[in-house]
Symmetry: C2
Amino acid sequence: MRIGELAGRTNVSERSLRYYETQGLLAADRTPGGHRDYPEAAVDRVVRIQELYAAGLHSDRIRQLLPCMRDQDGGPSATATPRLVADLTEERARIDRMIADLKRSRDTLDDVIEAARDT
Amino acid sequence: MRIGELAGRTNVSERSLRYYETQGLLAADRTPGGHRDYPEAAVDRVVRIQELYAAGLHSDRIRQLLPCMRDQDGGPSATATPRLVADLTEERARIDRMIADLKRSRDTLDDVIEAARDT
DNA sequence: CTTGAATCTGACATCAGTGTCAGGTTCTAG
DNA sequence: CTAGAACCTGACACTGATGTCAGATTCAAG
């Protein structure tokens, strides 16, 4: 599929899709004229990439991670090195802290919202 | 207490504390010479502010929110307007989506980490 | 063929909190 | 009183994914 369709289906801008390519996160075939042609699996991949970005991972880390992921077409093409496992474990801990923070903020908002409801 | 101590106790840089003041999030008395003098309650407040920033709220929103929060010394000094409640409800939904995303990313990392463990 | 929509590359802007530096002033222990 | 630590303001840089614009090219339908 072409970039416009992929953007529409993933709700990710064309700009970002091209950026992912420069970062080595998302490959695309090219038509004879140079237009990008994405495989169906690109949809899932883009969604994953977005999730990982949202989790605070940087392009470099995502690039290391992607080949080790299951649920890619053809299964994982690599296994994480010990070094990468250590890094990912740290990222995981960071994500846990983020979740805890977010829950506290959510509770704070709930308090304020509820206090207003009781007015 | 002075800014250095507050920074140390909250693990927030002095730069950020001064920035919070310009944003109207954190007030401080001044010594005759002009140095900031924070009340004890500033520690809690700074922690809250950090959590809310981490949850993706911007300064403007936090400024609206802070006076409505419980657990401030003296209790809440304001109640959220209906307009603010609507905005906060939206923020809350966004935070929920963030948490869901983070959990998915965490699961992804766990998969990769575990796959490496089974090597 | 033609024409309009879609895509291409490259460059520059943005956001918003934070880092950092400079040059000056205040505080406090000795 | 004095030295050094701590603090002050103001300004500029940065980060890194994304928005946006310009000018050129390709694609696909009539």
